[in-house]
């Protein structure tokens, strides 16, 4: 795990656990926002990122609020809108940018792009494009954790659209039958590419799918990181205690198109305005000020240090070489 930024300020000893948590959340959410802004609005437009770009702008509370409760034995299967999971698990911002830029320093050394990355040393499994495919894999990981007598839990992330797929249901069913320690985390951002929820499923909530599997399911405000964190604790405790999987539906909104090339004209503009007012970072900052967990100087300091850190990461990634074409045939099989 990466070092959590030191809480600065004039009264460190008096801070409550809530304040410490809020500072951690703010840091990781800001890092994710700043990184994805650079990715989508600078590096992609500069042509330094040649492939797809899928950001989680407005959804940062979900990967942060959940992943902060993961321990070293836990395994994460983040979706493409969960960049902060990588940060929380200790992957450097530079490597993430290098990944997007197709550089040798990225997690897949140029073999794959964007959020298609993983590293078992950090307990991170790479998604494939068919997003629900990680659901049965998460079940298998949880099976292996139990097999080995580990206390670990699999954190499995997906969007609302993924829950329409057969492998989602197969994986959830198997996990439920076997009572496997999986926390299923849905970032319900209400659109799967251009398809709204109403054309995705006949039930009102993803959580409504839980009872069919005899699986507890909870709906949480996905734009409130502390609420996500509190709900995740309930989910993780349940899964870790051997009672089976738990479904957490985090209601949020995708504040972008499906990807950088998609202007999302199909989304009623009013929805962006409405959800823009619920921005999870703005909300957390306001809460921190109101609770006295931080002052405006600290908030500004966080923004500045995040920008600096991302500047350095961009520099590092840009200095990372492109992969050598002579490596094309390497690693199809072990020892090849």
């Amino acid at each position: 795990m990466s070092a959590i930024p030191a809480v600065t300020g004039d009264r460190p000893d008096q801070r409550t656990a809530d304040a410490t948590l809020a500072h951690q959340c703010l840091y990781y959410m800001s890092m994710m926002r700043e990184l994805e802004d650079r990715i989508e609005r600078k590096l992609y437009r500069q042509g330094k990122i040649v492939g797809g770009v899928y950001v989680g702008r407005g959804q940062e509370a979900i990967p942060v609020g959940t992943a902060l409760l993961s321990g070293p034995e836990d395994i994460m299967l983040p979706s493409h809108r969960d960049l902060a999971v990588f940060l929380v698990r200790g992957v450097s911002p530079g490597r993430i940018l290098a990944q997007y830029m197709g550089r040798a320093g990225g997690l897949t050394r140029g073999r794959d792009g964007n959020m298609h990355m993983g590293d078992m040393k950090h307990g991170l499994v790479a998604i494939i494009s068919a997003l629900a495919a990680t659901v049965p894999v998460a079940a298998g990981i949880a099976l292996a954790l139990r097999y080995r007598g580990s206390n670990g839990v699999a954190f499995n992330y997906f969007g609302d659209g993924a829950t329409s797929r057969g492998d989602w249901h197969e994986g959830v069913n198997f996990a439920s039958v076997q009572k496997l320690p999986v926390v299923f985390i849905c970032n319900n951002n209400q659109y799967a590419y251009s398809t709204p929820l109403s054309l995705q499923m006949a039930c009102a909530n993803v959580a409504d799918r839980g009872p069919a599997y005899n699986m507890p399911a909870e709906i949480v405000d996905g734009n409130d990181v502390l609420a996500v964190h509190a709900a995740t604790r309930r989910a993780v405790d349940y899964a870790r205690s051997g009672q089976g999987p738990y479904l957490l539906e985090c209601k949020t909104f995708r504040m972008t198109g499906h990807s950088a090339h998609d202007a999302a004209h199909y989304v009623p503009k009013g929805l962006f305005d409405e959800w823009g007012k619920l921005d999870p970072i703005v909300r957390l900052e306001a809460r921190m000020l109101a609770e006295g967990w931080a002052d405006t100087a600290e908030i500004e300091q966080n923004r500045a240090s995040v920008r600096r850190e991302v500047d350095e990461a961009v520099e590092w990634a840009d200095a990372s070489p492109l992969p050598d074409p002579s490596t094309l045939l390497v690693d199809v099989y072990e020892g090849q």
Binding site: D112, G118, P136
Partner: protein
């Protein structure tokens, strides 16, 4: 006492489970019922529910859960009840398992057992030979043993391999063939073909159940004076082109035989490889004997017409020999 092909697979699985506590089985009806073909009969009683996992009817969950466990360093052996049903777990195998190492350096040491093949009147959904769907997926290994010896040696190698292996076991061979197996421990390497009959005039390259058809045809042709060499591929991916080409260089004539359908079959790939690398050794056209491009029919006269057999091979081989 001779061991059947089915018993050889059982022995291989059993020995690997005794040897390595990370090896476990999962699949439909494999535990309490012992498997549709009884390959795993008695396993759950000996190894327990932890290591013999009866799953829901969910091929994607079986394949996906195997991948997840494999990523964690376990060595799952997943059973598809029939190779035909592997389609339901296809995405997991070809998009997830096959690409993990290349993309992000993660090993997926899994085995997917797939009972395949016709001749048992199973009809269109219990008789197929879907190996080529996987042979053209880099990152997978694909094996298809023909003998009890190879079935045992290859299942053990597959379990020990650090890449995903699809293990096609031919249902028609399960109880049809038997042989004495060594009492001592052995494995058969993945990626190595084998000359199973030596000859001078013509090479038949084949695998799986058709090895036995090729050997029968070679025997008949010998009565006519033809000396036929038979190469059993044993592994389809990675393909041992060297052994094939060495044989064809010697005989200068080659007949490619498989039970799978024709278009896009292994014969096409072999023909291209032979032509590319040793074209000037050939003294005749490359000949294929395969199933036609149809689904596998159910009724015996139709299925018999569908499957390659000794007479078809002898006829084609004879005219190639005389070419």
């Amino acid at each position: 006492m001779p061991t059947t092909y089915l018993e050889a697979i059982r022995e291989g699985l059993w020995e690997e489970m005794e040897r390595d506590p990370n090896v476990f089985l999962l699949g439909e009806d494999i535990g309490i019922y012992g498997g549709a073909f009884k390959v795993t009969a008695g396993f759950i009683e000996h190894f327990g529910e932890k290591r013999v996992v009866d799953t829901p009817i969910s091929e994607a969950a079986i394949a996906g859960a195997a991948i997840g466990a494999g990523l964690m360093g376990l060595r799952p052996v997943a059973e598809m009840q029939f190779a035909d049903f592997i389609t339901c777990g296809f995405d997991q195998i070809v998009n997830f398992a096959a690409k993990c190492r290349y993309r992000w350096g993660a090993a997926v040491p899994i085995v997917v057992r797939a009972p395949s093949g016709g001749g048992i009147h199973g009809g269109p959904f219990h008789s197929q030979n879907p190996e080529m769907w996987f042979v053209r997926t880099p990152g997978l290994k694909v094996v298809a043993p023909a003998t009890a010896y190879d079935a045992k040696g290859l299942i053990k190698s597959a379990i020990r391999d650090n890449d995903p292996v699809i293990f096609f076991e031919h249902k028609g061979l399960y109880r049809k063939i038997k042989e004495e197996l060594p009492a001592e421990e052995y494995t058969v390497p993945i990626g190595k073909a084998k000359v199973v009959r030596e000859g001078r005039d013509l090479t038949i390259v084949t695998y799986g159940s058709m090895v036995w058809v090729a050997l029968e045809a070679a025997e008949k042709l010998a009565e006519e004076g033809a000396s036929v060499e038979v190469v059993d591929l044993r592994t389809l991916l990675p393909l041992d082109r060297d052994t094939v080409c060495e044989s064809v260089k010697k005989t200068s004539k080659v007949l490619l035989l498989h039970e799978d359908t024709r278009t896009g079959g292994m014969a096409g790939e072999l023909a291209a490889s032979i032509t590319e690398s040793i074209w000037d050794y050939l003294d005749g056209p490359i000949v294929r004997v395969t199933a036609p491009d149809t689904p596998v029919p159910y009724s015996p006269p139709l299925e018999d017409a569908f499957l390659p057999n000794c007479d078809k091979v002898v006829e084609k081989a004879r005219s190639l020999w005389r070419y």
